[in-house]
């Protein structure tokens, strides 16, 4: 546990690392969602056009 205390700076160090991790995860999740949505939007449009033809 003493390892995690980081002197008296534990809160500062861990919040920095934690925030960084969260931001990275958010970026990844956002990118994947956007990709999936783009593909499904295109698919929807293509299907719609097929039914019109």
């Amino acid at each position: 546990m003493e390892l995690f205390a980081m002197g008296e700076y534990g809160a500062y160090v861990w919040s920095s690392f934690g925030l960084t991790l969260i931001v990275l995860i958010v970026c990844v999740v956002q990118a994947r969602r956007r990709h999936r949505k783009t593909i499904s939007d295109i698919r929807l449009r293509l299907r719609a056009m097929e039914t019109i033809e």
Partner: protein, 250 residues
């Protein structure tokens, strides 16, 4: 060689090629960041002056460096897009912007958290580096706002390209601000005459984090550009075939 670059500029080729690169970049990035974090947090000795608080450097420096590198990439892509009218270049600039904004935000926040125990303050309005990094964040916001406000993709590409290039003046200001003006922020540690001013036990994890973050950034950027390319080329045949084929997962 020119054939390779020429092929790369073609969206379907880029899409296929980048699909292979993303996993490798991700793995390299994760491994380096894991090593850098563990070594930086637990193996590197505490700093003589700052104690364990200095360990924030292992996230702060990569974030700050990437916030500037992203802008440089955006500016170069914007320039290429404007001069050679390469659609892919514009797509790169568009995809990079949110990433750059996030890294700038991270740099500011981790810097602030680090500054609290070290300088006694969460923020220092008079500081040139803090101010110019904040300006950087606003430049990213302005870029994204302008893109958003223009409906036509080509027009949005070109207008935002001009904006990025105009704002590029800020990047050297951020980097040299600590040398030109008196600042709370310390001077350059790595890129200076006489080599890095930091002992190896602390240096190697830092380098690992910088490279690791860069690989992760590259992976993120490439995936975002792929999405961007799909959207821009949505009417093309190759996109149709790709989307309708069952193999296209995530």
């Amino acid at each position: 060689m020119w054939n390779f670059i020429h092929k790369l500029a073609s969206p379907p080729h880029f899409y296929k090629l980048s699909a292979k690169m993303v996993p490798w970049f991700t793995i390299a990035g994760v491994l380096l960041v894991l090593y850098g974090s563990i070594a930086g947090l637990f193996l590197a000795p505490p700093d003589y002056q700052q104690g364990d608080a200095f360990r924030i450097i292992y996230v702060h420096v990569p974030a700050a460096y990437l916030s500037m590198m992203t802008y440089v990439i955006m500016a170069i892509s914007a320039g290429i897009g404007l001069i050679w009218r390469m659609k892919l270049a514009h797509a790169v600039a568009a995809a990079a912007a949110p990433l750059g904004a996030w890294f700038t935000f991270l740099a500011l926040i981790t810097g602030s958290i680090w500054g609290r125990p070290m300088w006694g303050t969460w923020w220092e309005w008079g500081d040139p580096r803090l101010t110019s990094e904040l300006i950087m964040l606003f430049l990213y916001f302005g870029y994204m706002a302008l893109r958003n406000a223009i409906d036509d993709t080509v027009k949005a590409d070109r207008a935002s390209a001009v904006l990025v290039l105009v704002g590029a003046v800020n990047v050297p200001i951020i980097h040299f601000s600590v040398e030109w003006w008196s600042s709370l922020h310390q001077g350059p540690t790595l890129v200076r005459e006489g080599g890095p001013a930091i002992q190896t036990a602390m240096l190697y994890p830092l380098l690992a984090m910088i490279f690791g973050f860069t690989f992760l950034f590259a992976a993120l950027l490439l995936s975002r550009v792929r999405t961007e390319v799909l959207f821009r080329e949505r009417r093309a045949h190759w996109v149709r075939d790709l989307v309708l084929s069952a193999e296209e997962a995530a």
